[in-house]
Amino acid sequence: MKFVGVTSCPTGIAHTYMAAEGLEQAARAAGHTIEVETQGSAGFEKLSPESIAAADAVIFAVGVPVRERARFAGKPTIDADVKKAISDGPGLIARAVAAAEAEAANPTAAPAGSPAPGAAALATKVEQQASTGAHIRQWLMTGVSYMIPFVAAGGIMIALGFMLAQFFGGKNGPIVVTKLYSLIPPPDPNPTHIVNIAANFNPGDGMHWAALLFLVGAASFAFLVPILAGFIAFAIADRPGLTPGIVGGALAFTIGAGFLGGIAAGFIGGFTALWISRWKVPKGVRGIMPVVVIPLLSVLFTGFMMVVVLGRPLKALTDGLTSWLNGLTGTNLVVLGVILGLMMAFDLGGPVNKVAYTFATTGLVAAAGTTGSTNLKVMAAVMAAGMTPPLGLALATTIRRRLFSEPERENGQAAWLLGASFITEGAIPFAAADPLRVIPSCMAGSAVAGGLVMVFGNTLLAPHGGIWVLPLIGNPLLFLLAVAIGAVITAAAVIALKAAGPGPVKTDLDIAEAESAQVVTA
């Protein structure tokens, strides 16, 4: 048989090489061949991919973790201490022979592309015996738990950016901070005087700090959907799912499909990778399955689905909703406020939300300079409706902790600040984990908040900023009242639905979640 091995030790000058020699002698004595990669101090020459592909089994005799272990994914693997190869090389070779024979007898035991046994794996929450419904919620929860740190980091930074911008830039600061700064060189000529923060950061300028926080937070937010999709796919297909999931999620982000598009990408990528990794392929191909075949085919298929199959209906939906909304101008303003509220909360930053938000900001531009116009009321309604989902869920996690999983409870704390800053994305982790109960609850609260703003006649001169643009809101106290009422309704609805619904996902997962939360924060 043919084997490959890796040896290593803390100092990298003695045991590494003695172990390699021990394995080579034992293999030769037993009539096998082995190529050993010595990951020592004298540099290391990597085993060729061909050698790894041709090997019947892999022996790791190591004192420090194997470098680039993923190269060996899918191979039968023997894990041992480096001293074992020095004292008992023949024993390790015998174990490798047994593992190779077991693999040959039952090739499905380790599908190509699955991590080698004992590989340091990321945690998933998936229990094998669960029902389909429970599986789906566990897959979603895995994606959510990896996404939450990105939401918290990005959201809090953006909120702090608004805060600083208001402090240093006055009441229009939160508007300026999102418009006049970028991380790339501005167009030339530069009619709007955009400042490239990456090249010209000035520590003495408070607005530069605000812009830095905003831009870095926005960069973190760009990963919400890719990470959500990637780890849903990871929960479904293990490691092979990660690549198509992340790429599909990035495409969902780019085409504006929102977190619902990301969930779709996660499922498509995950199941594609799972299916391909279960193909029975000739031995020669097996070695390149995890590094070439599975990623290539699964990313290609997922990308095709996201761009070609999903892209066109998405565009049609966006166009249709936009023209429908434009046709509504002139109808009862309270009804319009309710409709906009429903749309804002439906997909929390996805295409429907974007249509409502764009409708409002377009009106804001058209209304520039005037006050009290309908367009400014629309903007106020949209912002109120975008603030209630995170606030309502933060409230719900505070008063009924037991209805939420540990990661959700942690996200609930950040959601206060995110909601107050009109960062609707703070609600996404809740919605992605349990869309059927959370989304209707959010829609109810946002609809009420949107309608109330119209009743109160609030106006807003800024496209974003939440409580940090209060000076730009007409009748700010009534505006806050509308937001508070909407948040209470969302919280009450989600508590009622979660308490009444079938066993919430967290009850059978409390332990796994506690462990996973540690992995996430580690």
Binding site: P10, T11, I13, A14, H15, M18, G40, A42, K83, S87
Partner: protein, 149 residues
């Protein structure tokens, strides 16, 4: 410079324990100017030894370290006919190899130590060292097997 010289061979190492034995061999390295700070180097070796005892089956001990106090890759060799406990399960060590590697150092420098480590796994090599009549004989064996194979 050579990996080992006659001055780095101790044919009758009768220290009470491995720490004393290590000090004798390290002193030889320091006397030859291959180790600039004896205590610093010994501390480095000891740190490595505490991670995992370096005694190995077949009666050998390989205390070793990469250390800033080492000027070039060197081997100090000791023969301890009465045996010194080096933490191996199958008994005390009779052949002690103190391997000193400089902290930085190019790959080429360290390759000679890799080659030495591989030879330690060969029974003939150990027997030749065990049976070498004198220090010059030990240096001959190492030079023939490791330095100019």
């Amino acid at each position: 410079m050579a990996l080992i010289t006659e001055n780095l061979v101790v044919l009758n190492l009768d220290s009470a324990d491995r720490h004393a034995a290590t000090r004798v061999l390290a002193q030889a390295l320091a006397d030859e100017g291959r180790v600039t700070d004896l205590d610093g180097f010994i501390a480095d070796v000891r740190k490595r030894e505490e991670q995992m005892a370096t005694g190995l089956p077949g009666g050998i001990g390989i205390p070793h370290a990469r250390s800033a106090y080492v000027t070039e890759p060197s081997l100090a060799f000791g023969r301890a006919p009465q045996g010194i406990d080096w933490g191996a399960e199958d008994g005390p060590a009779t052949l002690i190899f103190l391997i000193a590697a400089p902290e930085g150092g190019g790959d080429d420098h360290l390759k000679i130590l890799a080659s030495l480590a591989r030879r330690l796994m060969r029974t003939e090599f150990r027997e030749s060292l065990m049976n070498a009549p004198d220090a010059a004989g030990v240096v001959d064996v190492v030079t023939r097997e490791v330095v100019n194979p």
